[in-house]
């Protein structure tokens, strides 16, 4: 779980979505699946139970929230992203994607989708820290 990241967050000022309702998570999973994307990865789903979408500075992490800026469905519909990926968040320069074919988290350049860093499915913590760093 993303303990390192969550403790990092405690020291930051940020805005977050409403508390996650289990129905909202199910709706998000269903809609994303119907869009040809994957289910929300397990670790990220657990993270959403603590922070359902976050905005801090220029960093965004999506959740199953009615806030349009942070809504994982809206953002995956609207934002351009590489194939076979579920978009989980972004900062000014990079996207945080879950590659459901390779089953890993990727930090991808926002412009040319070049994969800059790859994190194993168990390393969500590092991927989240990366997107909040530079």
């Amino acid at each position: 779980m993303s303990q390192k990241f969550i403790s990092y967050l405690q020291k930051q000022k940020f805005k977050q979505g409403e508390t996650l309702e289990s129905e909202a998570l199910i709706v998000a999973q269903k809609v994303l699946y119907n869009m040809g994307l994957s289910f929300i990865p397990d670790a990220y789903g657990k993270f959403l139970k603590q922070h359902n979408g976050i905005k801090a500075g220029d960093c965004y992490l999506f959740g199953a929230t009615v806030d349009d800026d942070l809504d994982i469905i809206d953002q995956n519909k609207l934002m351009r992203k590489p194939d076979n990926t579920l978009l989980l968040g972004y900062n000014d320069f990079d996207l945080l994607c879950y590659n459901f074919k390779q089953k890993n988290y990727q930090i991808v350049d926002r412009n040319d989708w070049k994969v800059l860093e790859t994190y194993d499915e168990n390393d969500l913590d590092d991927a989240l820290l990366h997107i909040f760093n530079i």
Binding site: K114, L116, L129, I134
Partner: protein, 522 residues
């Protein structure tokens, strides 16, 4: 009893068809019905509705809307394209697409980011070079002491890539001091990679070695831009916000945070009162401040505000409404700093050739930055970004929305009144910076080659073992980008390849120089 549907479920229960959307959004649908009156109708809409219209325009352009017939789809897509063109005209911007450009190297991009954010992330061991690990592993009292003047960073190939930026030139003395104190052999500078310098910078500036990042710049470029903007356009900006009927205290607090810290994210701002209230006085008293000289209604002195905020006690001045509830920051516009020229296109070294009219440090220049309202930033300015590149970077395609006017410093909507212009580069301080930057421009790939050439001599001098396969990959990569056009580069590549061949031959014969983890000597 039926269970109440979650609001999120309700939001996504309806299928997105243009028809259901049209019924619910009659105000926006009106524009599609009267496309020739676009400017007239669109500009009258509230900002949130304009953004919603932009969202729908993009969805139609990208064929993300379930439109009944191909004929209708074609008509709507044509209309959406026309509307997008008009939006560009309204915002002094233009959509550009093209091909055949050379994107920046990853390391160059990293530097642009570091200067922009002012922080550096800790490097992992596998990201550091063999030579750097060799030189840093030689710890201990027995290590040879060098003179500070031996650390000639200005001629170290990869540091020269850093020192193209003024910010990095400014922190050079601290880095030098760190390397000297750690007694790192000055020969290391010749072979250190960008990652190695990042590691050295991280250790120079970190206050907590467990932290994943260190702050290297006191005022990062991004914050500096906001502070400069407030310096030059602050009064006009405050007036603009007031005209938007935003609560005086919100305007004051936002502008104060922008002026003092270069911060414009409402989440990081404490909304404070401008005049003393009984609540403020009582809070200040509880916070240990002497309030005897202050009275209710009196303007809070700037020195007191600065002191309270510096002590991180901004909550003592927190603004409240008539019911004593903290003032919400929701009505504050959310501004973000936008690079008007894509970082990707700051190629000083296209195809290995230098284009001196375009150089890396320019990307973070003040006339290439602007303040944009957050939603507009992501939806409009970055909504059309795309770069597709082939593996050898020869046939790249890109699209992007560019700003047409370098003097546009703030944009908060589509109306003329929502734009502010200023020439941020028209001052002696900037001209000096520009002159120095131009003197320090280098070709990234040539620096890489120089470093690789140095590895040849340094590994031999200290008997450092190195993997020839890894080096060969690096050389081939650079060679494919710069080609053999330059005689100097061609000679270096030929020399390096010859050296690698000899290393491989030695490897086959089991010569010790190629043992993977062999210890060198200093």
């Amino acid at each position: 009893m039926a269970k109440k549907k979650s609001s999120y479920a309700a939001k996504h229960q309806q299928e997105s068809t243009i028809f259901s959307w049209a019924e619910e959004n009659a105000d926006l649908w009106q524009i599609f019905k009267e496309p020739y009156n676009f400017e007239k109708i669109f500009i009258q809409l509230p900002y949130e509705r304009q953004m919603e219209f932009l969202r729908i325009t993009q969805a139609i352009q990208r064929d993300k809307f379930n439109i009944a017939t191909p004929q209708k789809r074609k008509t709507l897509q044509y209309a959406a394209d026309v509307f997008f063109e008009k939006m560009q005209w309204m915002t002094d911007s233009y959509y550009e697409e093209g091909e055949g450009f050379y994107p920046l190297a990853d390391d160059e991009r990293r530097l642009v980011r570091m200067e922009c954010y002012g922080t550096i992330d800790a490097r992992k061991q596998h990201q550091l070079s063999v030579c750097y690990k060799y030189f840093t592993s030689l710890e201990g009292k027995g290590r040879k002491k060098f003179k500070l003047k031996d650390y000639d960073l200005a001629s170290a190939p990869m540091w020269r890539v850093f020192r193209q930026f003024e910010s990095f030139r400014n922190i050079e003395p601290k880095l030098k001091q760190y390397l000297w104190k750690k007694r790192i052999n000055p020969d290391a500078l010749k072979v250190m990679s960008v990652s190695d310098y990042c590691d050295a910078l991280y250790h120079t500036f970190t206050t907590n070695p467990k932290s994943s990042k260190a702050t290297i710049l006191k005022t990062p470029i991004k914050n500096k831009f906001v502070m400069d903007f407030m310096k030059h356009c602050g009064t006009q900006f405050e007036e603009y916000l007031r005209q938007k009927n935003i609560d005086e205290r919100l305007v004051y607090s936002l502008c104060l945070a922008m002026k003092r810290f270069g911060v414009c994210d409402p989440n990081s701002i404490s909304v404070i009162d401008t005049n003393f209230t009984s609540q403020i006085l009582s809070d200040l008293k509880k916070g240990g401040y002497d309030i005897s000289a202050y009275t209710i209604g009196q303007k809070i002195p700037q020195e007191l505000i600065d002191d309270v905020i510096d002590q991180d006690k901004g909550c003592l001045l927190a603004a409240r409404d008539e019911k004593g509830i903290l003032i919400s920051k929701l009505s504050l516009p959310k501004f973000e700093v936008h690079h008007t020229d894509g970082v990707q296109f700051a190629h000083s070294t296209s195809g290995g050739k230098m284009y001196y009219e375009k150089y890396l440090a320019q990307t973070n220049y003040p006339n290439k930055l602007m303040l944009v309202e957050s939603e507009m930033h992501h939806l409009f300015y970055h909504g059309y970004d795309s770069v597709i590149r082939t593996t050898n970077n020869t046939e790249c395609y890109y699209s992007r929305l560019n700003s047409n006017n370098p003097f546009l410093v703030m944009i908060n909507g589509f109306g003329e009144k929502d734009h502010m212009y200023y020439d941020m580069e028209n001052n002696a301080r900037f001209r000096r910076r520009e002159k120095e930057d131009k003197e320090n421009v280098v070709n990234f790939f040539e620096m890489q080659l120089e470093r690789l050439d140095n590895i040849k001599t340094i590994t031999a001098k200290y008997n450092i073992s190195h993997s020839p396969t890894h080096l060969k990959q690096e050389i081939d990569e650079i060679h494919s980008i710069i080609g053999m056009d330059s005689d100097v580069s061609g000679d270096i590549v030929k020399g390096l390849n010859k050296w690698l061949r000899s290393l491989k031959k030695a490897d086959k014969n089991g010569v010790s120089a190629l043992t993977i983890e062999g210890k060198g000597r200093e």
